[in-house]
Each structure stands twice: as structure tokens, then as C-alpha cells.
Subunit: 282 residues, 4 copies
């Protein structure tokens, strides 16, 4: 992490105080770093300060962290990382469109990630996954309690020690016991414009309500289904001629693009989480 | 209604049957009308047929209606109108942006409507309305029960015999006794992407949920608040830097444009209502 | 083509005349067909009539065509087809994103097409293509005149007798001798919002002009580069922080989605071409 | 400008150098100011630094400027202003939609501006303008050379000493002699997605090209018509059924919203101009 020409990402969040930007950039300046980009945001409602700085330089990360810790309050969150590729494991069920898109992006290194494995409770996506030379684990949920199935999945995930777990249309409800293992590190794509149409069959719900817009939401997973911090949302227009099934098909493209864009932001360390919200420096 | 070069709009909805388009266009053909535009749609889930035809010609409307009634099932809805301006009454409260936009469009005849009056439970918008030489009725809700207030408002609306009542940010909950007087003829603009954030303070709800998109919905009003048939929806992107109040301000433009676009469709007789859905021939 | 429960698509374009819809639907009615969907449009500026009808039934296509020919003017274009899969050949160069997306959709039959082969003047996309078990032809342009190279490519395309040729980021300028072989059957994705930034390096041009929106255009190819009938366009917002290379990367997703949406329309026989414009019944 | 609780906006652009953020925020810190929001951007292609800081505090502006001048290179641009309302003069011709929207926003103080006067070469918008109690100057171009007409207009503008001149559908070509009087202070709304359809009748051009999207562009005016730095662009989708005149009507709403959004950014001092580009801190 101390190579000569690395690019570093410094992330800080802490209670706001006077002079924070001046003091933090002072540490970087005195360690002779070149700031490439700097973003900060103060949330007025909570009085919380967020800052992300990209910089280069022949630095000693430990010295910079030490300097910052001396300046910032004890309850600050400080991280200093390089732009190295993140390790991810993907969970999917039967629908291919999000997984396909991620496998393609993985192959061509379009996202800052390395897909270590795909896990599914069905075998439908095995052939696709293996065409891309990515390990595929079939873990059937049949004849297993929800808890036992989750234990199996969790064991398999842990083999790979991923930075992030991606739910690419994984159609199983997860227990808090499971999601709490990857707090703020598990990302889901939900096929509606949350908080509309929470739960099962959102396209059917949308059709029955007669909406004129459908959408997709990428969010971190927390204990309450579909309630985690939202990263990215987008929508498309539909009209009366679309059936629930037409809507689902039309929604596939927006789902895969929203998931990919959200992952790009997360994998480039651009997303802060505070409560059930995200602060994103695009 | 029988002037030589009028443009007519024929609207039919009925249970679907073989040969409907052929038979209906046959009546028009034999009365020597020139079809300008024809749209039809069959809802496969309900087996219902919708058709809207714009045509010109030196016709006798009664003869055409008679010809159609002989062909179509008894429970068909048939209407034949000209493109005459619709009469509307607007209800508003304190926010000006939707009312302002409609007053401007009224002045320059951008929409196929004539605003006969504005009614409000506050006086804030009186000066604006009168600048446009439109009658303004202040009907305070103070010291009145909801029912008594609604009775007063209803009496005033009825003075004008409007074709449509427009709720341009009218911030009072309406009772079924009121809304049932204008079934399928009362249009509301709701400041969220329904069905997300039903009810009061949708921007505050959106802020607290941390959504990345906010929207507006124009819909017909029925007995259940925010549950009527949706005509038009649109959205804008927001980020973490927006407070609830910033979102409200940013939302004003999308509200006024969505309402105006929905009204354009309704006022040009392009919208059919079936159950809680709309079929729209744009 | 006369199987009992086939779905048929009838397409007609001809000079407008009174009673066309009535007469055409009469032929269908008398042959006992069930109209699933019917769209028509009359271009007022040219007085031209377009109609597309989807229907089912145990029909004899020849009889229907004969009946229509008796009714319609001699210079009418009439086609009656089933919804069978179209055969396509793809040309690409080095960029993978459009080809990848089409190979995935082909594998999962998301579009009404069968990719018979991929042809490229580079070998970069060979491994990807072959992972999907699609034949790949490398035809280098080096040491060949433009004409000779095109002759080689054309010969290879002709081996497959495709219905459509898709230019999925094929970065070679084509001569009229080449494009005239597939008039109205060759579709290109251009990486700008045409007619802005015609020609080479549109993202560089966009960056230099400082635009706030970039886009993509799917169009039929005719003799003038980037001047053919437009099928579909879409855009994304960009800001000052994006370099030309960032714009290119951000543009990849909109390019691939616009191309796929345009192909869906074309492959479902929803697109009419008249002069340099398209009439599309979505 | 030295009131106790004013909000100040500091804007700096200069060649990039190490430690700029640290040094600049140091000056603010030592003068006991509270930074509300801070944005900076370094253009890598030109090596130029841009920074905008909103802060409050009981400060002496002169001392802060003096401190900054001692730190920054001689060719830096430094400004320190309060958030006071900007004075604007509007030029219009016959179309009302942009002017109407600005008059409404002016009346309700939705934008940080005060419209001092409207100037037009026609009388059509006089009655509207005067309804809002804004002075209207009719300066006919008939019987005058372009230069003489511009001289008259310029003289009238100068009576009001505006901060900005807004061309709200002013349909006269301006000479460099005129535009050079308000370099970087004159904003135009062009009714196309620039650089597509430069010049006259963009909707007619769009119709003839058969585009599927139309747009609007708000930009600063420089010597070359339609070539100035772009502030904001947006688009709407259209289809084959829209005539040039339908496109113009549909475009009105996007024009007025794009102009209003661009003005909001400019009037809040969020826009930097460098060459023919804008850097915008939203």
C-alpha cells in the first residue's frame, strides 16, 4: 500500500467542526500528496461531516493516518485505501439479465471488481456462469429449512472472503441472521421504484395499480426487507398496453443498468452510509 | 354540432367482439367522413375494446350515433363530440406554481380549456388570479365542519357548471360525498410518484427514506385518497444534498408540467377510464 | 405459413384514401381472423397511409393477400408474415459492449433474432463470440483496398443470407456499393445524438463543445454516413468533470440499450421506412 | 457587505498548485468563518483550479480578500459576494412561454433575481408584462438598420444597469458589437439540443431529419451564434406523429424549464466559465 505512484482514497466521516477541511488537507499537504479530487458534504440535519479525497504521492499511509487521528474526534471513521479491485460473490436465482451483465463487465474489467463465485438455489444459470470461467455453486433450498439453507450459502460465501455480496435477482427472503453478516456490504437490486411496491411481484402490483412509470432500485440490504439505504434508482415510462409480463421484460434493462451504476459507485469507494441514507460523491 | 367542417371525436368502449373496427369504420365511411386519426386498444385481461376516432366531414351526428347503436352491444359507451373548449373550475390552497402555470396557459389558450373560476380556502392566491381577470372565491374552512365547508365549495363550483374540476395543490382531504359529485371529472396533482408516499408531506417522507428520485402524479380523484386512476407521472433525480424543502422546490416544476400534460390529454378527450386504470391515446 | 394458430403480421403502406381501414379490416373479418392489435397512421404532409395489424386465425395467407390487392392501389406495399425469428449477421471492430449485449440476448432469446455469425476486422472479440458458440470471421482490412475488403466482408455475409445486418460498433466507413446491398436492412448504432457530432470521435467532439448531454442513435444505414432513417435515440446527462474518455465509457450503456431497443422494434416488424424517416408502432 | 450574519460566496479560479484548498480554507478558518458548503474542481486538461465556498460569519470581506491575494497567483480570479438578488433585463419577441414563466417566478421570488424591464421588438407581450407591473419597452426593428436597432436596445438596457441580460426567445440575430457588451452576462435559450440544429427553425429541421428526441439548450451568448458556453440542456422524446408545429409546442415546456434551471445556477453564482465550457457546482 505504499508504492510510489499509487492512487489513494481517503474517506472520513465525523461530527462537523470548524476548520475540518483546512486541517485534513493540511495533513495531506505536509505529506507531499497531490490531491486529484476532493469532495465534502456536511449534513445540516445531523451535523455530520463527510469527505472523500483522491490523491497520489510517494506517501507512508500509516503516518498520514496517525496525523489525521491526532486531529479528528475519537468517534471519526477514517479509511485510507488504494484503488485495488474489490472481491465479490454474486447470489442469483433464475433470471439471467443482471448476472449476464455483471459477468460481461467482469470479463472486460468494466467495474472495479473481481467476481470470485456465483451461488444459486437453481441450476439454470450454471451453464452461463461457467462459460465465463467463474465458479458456480448450486445450493438447493429444497428439503432445507430457511436457516439451514442460509447456513450453507453463508459457508460458501465465506470460502471466498469477499468484500461485497451482490444479490443479482436473488429471489429468497433473507433472515437478519444472514444479512447482519454483511452489513453495509451486501447490495440488492429491487425491481421497483422503492418504496413503491415493496415485497413480492412488484411488476404485477404496478400493473394492477395502473402506474405510468416503473423503476428499479439498488440498495444496501439491512434487516428489514427493501428498507436499506438506497444507492441508485431509475425509471422508464410505460402505458396501458403493457401487461405485467411486458413490464417485467421492459424492466430488465433498467434493473441491470441501475445495479451496474450502483456497483460502480460502491466499488470506487464513493458511497458513504449514514442511517438509512447514502451520501454519494459521483 | 353539425357544422360543415367541424372536427369530431368519436369514443367507444364496449366488450370486444370480432369485426368491431370494420363495422365502426363502416358507419363512418358510409356517412362520408374523413378519418384523421384512429386509435384502438383491446385490453386482453378484461376483454374490453376502446376506440377513439378523429374525423371531419359534413355529417349528421345523430345519424352516426344511431348507426353505431344498431351495431354495438347495449352496454357500450359511445360519445360523439366536437373539439370545443372545456369549462373548468380550479381549487387551490396556498402554493402558486400549478395555478400560475394554468392561468398562463389559459390566457394564451395553450390548453383546450376555459378557466371559469378559482376557489381557495386561503386568500394568498387571490391577487394572482385577479391579475388574470379570473373570478376568485375565498371560502375559508375555519369555523366550519368539513362537511359544511365542502357544501359551500360545491355550491360555488355548481354556479359554473364546469366539465372538469382541477385540484391544483388543493391541500384539503375530500370526503366521498364531495368527490362522488365529479366522478371521472376531477383531476388532482399529487406531489409524489404514487403509490410511493401516499398521504401528507410526501417530500418529507421522501427525504427521510433517502430516495434518489422524486416525482409527481396526476390522477382522477375517487373515493380513496390518492388511489384514483393515474393519468401521467414523471420524476426528477435528487441527491443527498437536497433537504425536504429543496426537494419540494425542485418538485414544483415537475408537478406543474405533469398536471398540464395530463390536462392536455383529458381535455382533448384522449383518456378512457376503466376501473382504476386509464387507457390513453396520445 | 398457414398453420392453425400462427400469429400473423400484416403491413400495408400506400397513398391515403377514404375507407382504407374499413376495407382492409373487412378482408380480415371475412377471412375469420382475430385482430390482436391494429395500428395505423396517416402522414398528413405526404398523404401516405401506414397500417400494421397483428392477428391470429386459421387463414390462407394467399387468399388474404389476393383480397387486399384487389382493394388497394397498385403502388401499395403489402406484406403478410409470421412472427418467425429473423436471421442476422453482426459486424463489429474492437469494442465489446454492444456485441456482448446482443450475444447475451441471443443466447436467452430476448430478441426475435438468431445471430448466424460475427464478422470483424480485428480479432479482439473472437474469444468472446466463440464462448457463445457463434461463428466468428476475422477479415483484416490490412493490405486491402477499401473495396476489396468490403468485397470479402460481403461475400462472408452472403454465405448466411441474413434478414438484417447489424453494425455493432463497426468502425469502418462503408461505401454506397456496400450499403446498397442491404438497403433498409442494415442497422447501425452511432455514439452520439444525431445529427449532432456526425462523423469520427463524437465523444471527443462532445467534450470539446462542453455539452451537458450525450446520446446514442440507432438508425438504418443509407448511402450518406450517419444520415439514414433514425429508429431510436436516447441520452444521458454529463457534467464538467467528465473527460472525453469518461463520456465514452458512460455512453456505452446507452449505446447498447438503444441498439437493443431499436432491434426489438425492427425484428418485430414494427418499423416502416418512408424517405429518411421511420414510422414506428410500438 | 459586512453584516453580521450574511452568507458569503467566495469564488476562485486560478492555475492549479499544491495545497490550494488547504491554504484557501486556512484564510477562511483564521477569519472565523463557518463553511456551509465547499466545492472544488481541477480541470486536468488545462490544469486549472475552480473553487466555490459558501460561508457565514461576522467577517471583514476586505481582510479575507487581502489574505487570499497574498496566497494566490497574480492571474487568479477571486470574487467574494453576498447572496443578494441579481438585476436582470429580459429581451423577448413574440413567444410568451419563457417570459411568462420568468414573470411568475419573479413575482413569487422563486429565482434570485429582480426583473427590471422587458424589451421587445413586438408589442404582443406588452399586456402580459404590464399585468405583472414590469416596465415594457417596445423597440421596433422596422425602418432601422440592425446596428441602429441594437443601439436603441442597448441604450434601454443600460438605463437599468443589469447584472444579466436574458434572451427569452428573442428571435433577432445579434452582432458581436452588441454581445460583447455583456460577455458572460447574457444568457440565451435555444430551442434545440445544441450543437444539433444550429440556426433558424430548429423544430422544422428536427422534423425533416426525423429525430426521435428534441431538446433545448441554455447557454451564454458569445460572438458566434449558438456557440457560447452551455449551461443546461434537456430533451423530450417525440415520435413520427408529431409535426414540426407539434414539436415546437411540445418543446415550449422543456425550453422554459431549462432556461429557469440554468438561471437558478447562474444567479446563485454556481457557474464558472472557462473557454467555451462551464464548470457548475450544483
Amino acid at each position: 500500500m505504499s508504492a510510489a505512484n499509487s492512487i489513494y482514497i481517503l474517506r472520513i466521516d465525523c461530527p462537523d467542526a470548524k476548520g475540518l477541511v483546512h486541517k485534513i488537507t493540511g495533513v495531506l499537504y505536509h505529506h507531499d500528496s497531490n490531491v486529484i479530487r476532493n469532495d465534502e458534504f456536511v449534513d445540516r440535519t445531523t451535523g455530520h461531516f463527510f469527505m472523500r479525497t483522491e490523491f497520489s504521492g510517494n506517501i507512508q499511509p500509516d503516518k498520514i493516518l496517525q496525523g489525521l487521528r491526532g486531529l479528528l474526534p475519537d468517534n471519526s471513521t477514517i479509511s485510507l485505501t488504494t484503488t485495488q479491485t474489490k472481491k465479490v460473490v454474486i447470489l442469483a436465482t433464475k433470471e439471467h439479465h443482471c448476472l449476464s451483465d455483471l459477468l460481461i463487465r467482469n470479463k472486460f474489467q468494466d467495474l472495479n471488481m473481481d467476481i470470485l463465485a456465483v451461488i444459486s438455489n437453481h441450476t439454470l444459470l450454471q451453464e452461463l456462469t461457467e462459460r465465463f470461467s467463474v465458479p458456480f455453486h448450486f445450493i438447493s433450498h429444497e428439503h432445507l429449512s430457511r436457516e439451514d439453507h442460509e447456513t450453507e450459502v453463508l459457508k460458501t460465501i465465506q470460502l471466498y472472503q469477499p468484500d461485497y455480496v451482490i444479490l443479482a435477482k436473488y429471489m429468497r427472503i433473507l433472515t437478519p441472521a444472514f444479512t447482519s453478516q454483511y452489513t453495509n456490504r451486501m447490495i440488492n437490486i429491487h425491481h421497483s421504484f422503492l418504496p413503491a411496491f415493496i415485497g413480492a411481484n412488484p411488476y404485477k402490483q404496478a400493473f394492477e395499480r395502473g402506474v405510468k412509470i416503473i423503476g428499479a432500485t439498488a440498495h444496501f440490504v439491512n434487516e428489514d426487507l427493501d428498507e436499506g439505504p438506497i444507492i441508485m434508482q431509475d425509471v422508464i415510462h410505460v402505458d396501458h398496453s403493457k401487461t405485467a409480463s411486458d413490464m417485467a421484460q421492459a424492466g430488465h434493462d433498467v434493473e441491470k443498468i441501475v445495479l451496474a451504476k450502483a456497483l460502480k459507485l460502491v466499488l470506487e469507494d464513493r458511497v458513504f452510509i449514514k442511517g438509512n441514507k447514502t451520501i454519494i460523491f459521483e
